[in-house]
Symmetry: C2
Subunit: 385 residues, 2 copies
């Protein structure tokens, strides 16, 4: 492969800029909007009576590794592309990434949890709408051909949330970042019909449900004293568990056209889950009771409704046909510590060398383009079919 | 492969017989030993002021699938091989299994938790010793060439536990069934040096540390209303998380000759964990701080200290060289619902057809034989080298 690949990265992050809420709040809530305050040289977000530092480790691209830490970071210590869209486009060019879907950072929470937790629901909802409007008009609006528009959900009320999904979808939004498992935040379980109005709106509007690793705060690392590396080693476990949880909840049985993408998931565990689902159906005493679709097995529904995203393609790429070549998408995870920036394009070319053009095209951009209904210009549709 | 394979199954279970404690308790504790009581036609174990049913789903071999349930089971509803060693040997013959390592069932807990929880530690320890003596003399003693002797640990005190390990090892015991993560039961974390005296005794005596799925009661399935099948789908996640947790705890760095086998683990997730460990070491801000062995990477230690057991060999067997052919062992899981009984031998022959003889021999019996120091008769060492 001599020509550069076209890469659509389906998992990057914005660091919310300090002026995000300016001019986007109702007049009587302007003073209550989140704002940056400086305390002892540290910049913190202040909202609803609490102060939240920006975690340095979540914005490390371009910094020497010996400066990476969990310490709070100032905007002027971050690479400008974290929060400035013009600089981000330059960084995407340097990375060989054509287009990007950008999740929030701490101030919003991957699924807008900070707004949902607000003591005043009116204020929380106004902030959520401000975030969604900023993301659509300022971030994506700066280069609509290069960013996939994402919205955050209103977790407080699934009927109101459904209305927001429809409103944003009508404005061009293609995806919503939801929680891996709402019970982790004290919200009703996926194994109820509580979320059905919201999920029905997603299915109806073709809004992809994006489940980012750790969006509900859960980790399988649970022992005191464990190093941070145990937590990061286990990131793919979140996606594996989330996928199994959503399957057995019956959500994709009740909403068969719902599209669910697992961010930062990896693909290595998918063949194992497929095998395990088939084995459980074969050996379970109550399999027919726990599974409500007589026409499709859990592993068939897995391949129909779920997509998996890979930061760096690994040797298990040889299992891609067990997974489904159509279900694999790429990500760069800019600006987090896991990111492949600025080598995403080079690494992908290296990892994909020798694969059939069809598979390369599908994995690098075509799957993401079809999943999100996001057009890629004709001249960038390489390798050609 | 025309001749039958020799299979050493490293994960089966005994259902403790009603008379297990008879004649094995100190005189002043005889009346306090666990005993079977019958209440409304149900047989329950009574111990330390509490009553414990035997879960029917844990003893289903030979019963029609429509009779499988979580309801309490009576001994006369179970297949006799669950608790009678002569009948078990017949069942092993029928299954094509030459030798077996048998874990406890509910009354003991996979790692002897019921004894550790006893309100009177003297009574708890006496019961634990009775279980270990019964297992060694009555169960294994009935056919020492066909059972791998296993002991349960004294979880209350790691120094006393070390003494028990040495005592049992001197009597021929080859393995001990420990907890996946002690904090799940309110005990000190693996990420401390609390367990070091016990672990040192295991390393010193070549006693294999066996970590059975769910031995500490943890599951990644956590949402109310989730069907039982989510729990069983996620069994391999326990092993994956346990393996990562033990690695990052530094236990196999401090005890480099310690052998750890994950029961009911599957093998499908191992290549993913290897990739992930390498990726984390490459991308972590604090990797060198969290990992204490300058001479070996986490994935190298994984292959050195851990073994993985498979119930039914799956299509991911093609990844066996990523895992390490020397680290894969087989299991039948008699008499649980997941068991391949009575087809374990037939299925293994089918799955392994076409593999080199060396790989077949390693996976079916040789790895287990070397791991546990358990001799297999010369005439059963097939396929021949």
């Amino acid at each position: 492969m001599s020509a550069p690949l076209t890469i659509v990265s389906v998992d990057d992050h914005v660091v919310e800029p300090a002026d995000l809420f300016e001019g986007r709040m109702p007049a009587h809530l302007v003073d209550a909007a989140p704002r940056i305050v400086e305390v002892d040289g540290v910049e913190l977000w202040e909202f609803d009576g609490q102060r939240h530092p920006q975690i340095g480790l979540n914005a490390v691209v371009g910094r020497p590794k010996d400066e990476w830490s969990m310490e709070p970071a100032r905007f002027d210590e971050m690479r400008r592309g974290c929060w400035d869209v013009a600089a981000r486009l330059d960084d995407m060019d340097a990375d060989g990434v054509w287009a990007s879907l950008c999740y929030p950072s701490l101030i919003a929470g991957f699924a807008g949890t900070m707004f949902a937790r607000c003591s005043d629901p009116e204020l929380g909802l106004a902030c959520l709408r401000a975030w969604n409007d900023w993301h659509r008009t300022e971030w994506v609006g700066a280069a609509p051909d290069r960013f996939v528009p994402l919205q955050l959900p209103w977790l407080v009320d699934p009927v109101l949330a459904a209305g927001e999904v429809r409103r944003n979808a009508a404005l061009g939004c293609r995806a919503v970042s939801f929680l891996e498992q709402p019970v982790d935040l004290g919200l009703p379980s996926l194994h109820t019909d509580h979320w059905d109005p919201f999920l029905a709106a997603c299915e109806e509007t073709d809004t992809v449900v994006c489940l980012h690793c750790a969006s509900s705060g859960w980790s399988a690392s649970r022992a005191p004293g464990a190093p941070l590396e145990l937590l990061t080693t286990l990131f793919p476990v979140n996606a594996l568990v989330t996928c199994a949880d959503w399957l057995w909840s019956g959500v994709p049985v009740r909403f068969p056209r719902l599209k669910i993408v697992l961010a930062e998931s990896g693909i290595d565990w998918v063949p194992m889950l497929i095998n395990r689902l088939d084995y459980v159906m074969d050996h379970s005493a109550t399999g027919s009771g726990g599974w409500r679709d007589p026409d499709h097995t859990p592993s068939e529904v897995l391949r129909r409704n779920f997509w998996f995203s890979v930061i760096d393609l690994t040797s298990t790429l040889e299992l891609r046909h067990h997974i489904g070549v159509d279900n694999i998408v790429l990500e760069s995870d800019y600006p987090h510590a896991d990111s492949t920036w600025p080598d995403t394009g080079v690494r992908a070319s290296d990892r994909l060398a020798g694969l059939p053009d069809d598979d390369v095209r599908r994995i690098t951009w075509q799957n993401a383009s079809e999943l999100f209904g996001f057009a890629v210009p004709a001249e960038r549709q390489v390798p050609v079919a």
